[in-house]
């Protein structure tokens, strides 16, 4: 992507906010990820970088005072510098989802609202690849883009107090997985047996911003098996390298 003018602003005493144009676009995401790569290489382990859609929040970790002007210069140098584009390995993850009525509390209602049969809804939901624009809000919560208009419906009028971990939902322009039991207002159409966040792993979240997700329908019997496997730490996930 051609370089774009970045907006760089202080964000309190310990952080800098870097913003790209206010759009949800894969080209912007790629530009952000390239920037993060080169900045991290040049300034290792003194910043924490949090990408989301069109921004990177950069948190200064040392206990010394953050010098905003110096940071801004470093950010611009890193962004405009002629670096070898060192791409992160990026993957398309195939995540199993069981659309059984046991988990899919809103499946029938959602299909009716969207004007599909249940089978057609599952077919559409599993046909697309969704890009991960960032991970935030809760540990392992993916902001996924690329939901087609035909699958967009408003969130539920009343949020539920307890949405089960692994629940797969639709709400507005978003689809995604609840990484933990939590309150939530999304329309729940299935459940993924693979934990997206597991603190006991060296890499607690296997998905990274820039990866893609595709859902794969599985039966209740397969769900039960995958659930047991993942509880003992076996995931058997299918992943396809994106930049091979």
């Amino acid at each position: 992507m051609k370089e774009v003018p970045l907006a760089i602003r202080p964000f309190g005493e310990k952080a800098v906010l870097v913003e790209w144009p206010n759009k949800v676009k894969e080209t912007i995401l790629n530009d952000i990820l390239t920037f993060i790569n080169s900045f991290k290489r040049e300034h290792p382990s003194i910043w924490e970088l949090i990408p989301a859609y069109n921004s990177v929040t950069m948190v200064w970790l040392p206990s010394t005072k953050l010098d905003f002007d110096e940071a801004k210069t470093q950010i611009l140098e890193s962004y405009t510098g002629k670096h070898e584009p060192m791409e992160n390995e990026r993957f398309l993850w195939k995540l199993p989802v069981c659309y059984d009525a046991e988990f899919a509390t809103d499946l029938i209602e959602t299909a009716e609202t969207l004007g599909f049969s249940v089978e057609e809804l599952i077919k559409q939901h599993t046909a697309h690849e969704y890009i991960v624009f960032g991970i935030g809000f809760l540990p392992g919560f993916m902001y996924l883009g690329g939901l087609p208009k035909s699958l967009q419906l408003p969130r539920r009028k009343e949020p539920r107090l307890d949405v089960a971990k692994g629940s797969v939902g639709l709400a507005g322009k978003q689809t995604g997985i609840y990484p933990q039991d939590s309150p939530g207002g999304w329309n729940i159409i299935g459940n993924c047996p693979i934990p997206i966040f597991d603190a006991s792993k060296k890499n607690p979240c296997f998905v990274n911003a820039g990866d893609k997700i595709q859902f794969q329908p599985i039966s209740k019997a397969e769900y039960d098996l995958r659930k047991i496997e993942s509880e003992i730490g076996i995931y058997n996930l299918e992943k396809i390298p994106l930049n091979a």
């Binding site: 309190g12 310990k14 952080a15 924490e48 949090i50 607690p204």
Partner: protein, 279 residues
């Protein structure tokens, strides 16, 4: 071991936080009131960020199974050691079998117990700070135990600190947040002239304020948030994110608390008043 005979209202193990995992949605966590904790740790000759117990509103009852030295700080919770009153910001020697308990909350909201060498416990992703689901435990329960090192002798450089306390402060120093520019003159006037009351919805994740200002219809793309970020909802409610707060959010971030102001706010409870002062 330090044993919890009673756990208190909400007692957690905290160091200064979990860094390097916010890009996968893990909040930084850590002590809410860093100022109070640093002082206690310094008196004990610890590193400023060594792990302490964060005690909220109602204190626990604790029995020490090994001799060591402790220092209390933060909220004034009428602590006693073997039923004898003790003071905050003093190095105190404890023996095996000593019982530390707490009484009436006199000032502040969060009290700290630091021990010579720091508490140990379940370390996850580089930090002792309890935050479920990263750590198994969310907070301590009756009967829990937590390890610390036996220290038979320690000669403190200073034994007592008498410093100005931030507990009585009610001015919250803020900087312009990323979306400060969406604020109208009326909203600015309200933000910096009114007092706001801490609502019942306050915890380690966020403090919601009572006393709304005008709402808005601005929407932003989800973007990073920090401890001390003041979000303005479309209905005009103010929500201040704290140490266990979400790592990203979609509400405009109109103000950002100074680091010292986060410590000040951490000592406020339901019904307390605060006002904002722009730096």
């Amino acid at each position: 071991m330090l044993k919890f005979l009673k756990s208190g209202f909400y007692t957690t193990l905290q160091d200064f936080g979990r860094f390097g995992y916010r890009n996968i949605g893990v909040p930084v966590s850590g002590v809410m009131d860093e100022l109070s904790v640093k002082k206690a740790n310094i008196l004990l000759g610890n590193k400023g960020e060594d792990a302490v117990l964060e005690i909220t509103m109602t204190g626990p009852t604790l029995i020490f199974e090994l001799p060591t030295y402790i220092c209390l700080s933060g909220a004034q919770l009428s602590p006693t050691l073997n039923n004898e009153p003790i003071e905050n910001y003093k190095v105190i020697k404890v023996e095996a079998g000593d019982i530390l308990s707490y009484g009436k909350l006199e000032s502040g909201f969060r009290s700290y117990l630091a021990v010579k060498g720091g508490f140990q416990g379940e370390k996850q992703l580089g930090s002792y700070s309890q935050y479920n689901p990263v750590t198994v435990k969310k907070c301590f329960k009756d009967g829990d135990e937590i390890p610390y090192a036996q220290i038979k002798h320690y000669e403190p450089v200073i034994t007592e600190l008498k410093l100005e306390s931030h507990l009585d402060r009610d001015t919250i120093e803020v900087f312009r947040g990323p979306e400060f520019s969406i604020l109208t003159d009326a909203q600015l006037e309200a933000l910096f002239s009114k007092d706001f009351t801490i609502s019942k919805k306050n915890n380690r994740m966020a403090y919601q304020l009572e006393g709304e200002i005008d709402g808005h219809s601005e929407s932003i793309l989800t973007s990073g948030t920090l401890p001390g970020t003041v979000q303005l909802t479309s209905a005009g409610k103010l929500i201040i994110l704290m140490k266990d707060g979400q790592t990203t959010g979609g509400y405009p971030r109109v103000l950002q608390l100074s680091e010292a102001a986060i410590s000040t706010l951490a000592q406020k409870r339901f019904g307390d008043n605060i006002s904002f002062k722009l730096s």
